[in-house]
Symmetry: C2
Subunit: 304 residues, 2 copies
Amino acid sequence: MRLQILGCWAAAPNSKHRTTSQVLEVNGHLLLLDCAEATQITLRQHRIKFTRIHHIFISHLHGDHVLGLVGLIMTFRMLNRAKPLHIYGPKGIKNFVCSQLKSLSAYTDYPLIFKELERNAPEVIFEDNKLKVTTIPLKHRIYANGYLFEEAPKDRKLLLSKVLNYNIDKAYFNSIKKGKDILLDSGVCIKNEELTEDPPPPKRYAFCTDTAYYPPIAEQLKKIGTIDVLYHEATFLNSHEHLCIPTGHSTAQQAGKIAKAAAVKQLILGHYSTRYGHLQAFIDESQIEFENTHLAIDGKVFEW
Amino acid sequence: MRLQILGCWAAAPNSKHRTTSQVLEVNGHLLLLDCAEATQITLRQHRIKFTRIHHIFISHLHGDHVLGLVGLIMTFRMLNRAKPLHIYGPKGIKNFVCSQLKSLSAYTDYPLIFKELERNAPEVIFEDNKLKVTTIPLKHRIYANGYLFEEAPKDRKLLLSKVLNYNIDKAYFNSIKKGKDILLDSGVCIKNEELTEDPPPPKRYAFCTDTAYYPPIAEQLKKIGTIDVLYHEATFLNSHEHLCIPTGHSTAQQAGKIAKAAAVKQLILGHYSTRYGHLQAFIDESQIEFENTHLAIDGKVFEW
């Protein structure tokens, strides 16, 4: 998986910082997560071939996560896009997009397919042979979802020496990789465990913004299995913890708590309030709870 | 007058170019003309104190002229703006803004005052003791207006030696500057022409985008008086003139024709199609008609 942060600040963009957008590459899929104002410009600046984007996941309908969406949709049309564009987001996102297109006498030549979300329990919203995407209900001022991106389970790993030893025909290799046992001509059944070993676990990325401290996030993630990377918002430092409940945001330490409780491998913080000049304190306060904490920075790439 | 080009390209922004926005400074007013995506970022990059903006003039409801408006309105709120913001634009602009604010659970603490335009004849839409703004009907695919920004007429210039010669009391100076005659104690009436001379002519800026070649623009401007600077769109070069009518745009040479017919002092071209690599041909083709042609460039400042 390859994650590039396009913007990771809260509230409003300025000359240095962009608000929330990310691109995630998984097994050939290029996904856009949130779409702040100027995302199409930032995509160009990072030379990302954005005609490869077919799925956009929107966390919630606040301006700093969604104001770049209509511009991007309109630019796709100018680029003569033909392939459908799938947009996942809270109920209301279709109206947000379509009412703007209508006001602007604009339309798309390509299909625009909305999946509007309104459930408060996790649901699988996309699945193919490469990727599965599940919602992660969050706790914000308005309805918001995180998203879990999970590689499709891989085939079992063939133990070639064993297979050759039994003189098994190549034609059976695929079904062995899928976990099937093999009946030899001699009538002997060879158990799959003898011929294969476990595939590497599917890689997983959890994108959680915006949210107050909300332990069910950790409970959901822990149940699923090992999460390689969790992006969790950290709008505030502990000095402003009193602002978390009224605004529906978290501190860096609370993000660390969620990472620890979910037993993820790595935590990335983002969505910093622009009131803070330096970001080191975000690392420091998160590390009280969870050591392997990293900072999102506009343009930064994470690979795992 | 001081004009700064924030963006001057057609269609969609990319890593190098922004679409249409400008700031115009006139006698203490800081005005925003059109508001493309990322305008709030560009304003910050040019260190323009955008809380000084109280009036925004939108030419027409196409994405490349208006997609930055809602982000800017929301950022004004975060900056605790209290003063009203006046937005002038085609009928439909209020719904474009307000439906987005509603979708985003957003509002403003400051008054948002819309002046929706739908007339096809010039009308004065703003006037105070510093500035007058008149619409310039354009010819585009959808309803569009240019805007004429005109300094308020200045007081007549007092000829101090004449005034002192007649021993006129200072208390009368203001009314003399306003053009009044003076009755001396001796009963003699002194005509204003003897005491004053004409003030410098009001400076004028005409902003005309997007529009096909439309001679009534020149007729309107010529009737008003000397226009110091005309910004006229020039989407195409002559090699693509056949695209002008279907798209509602102009060539550089057509922009030059309007400048010549309106007898303006200076022409600025902009709204270039991104199909062209170099801009020199825009100057060359406009200068077939009108010598004093200049190119808009993102960030460039014009003063007169």
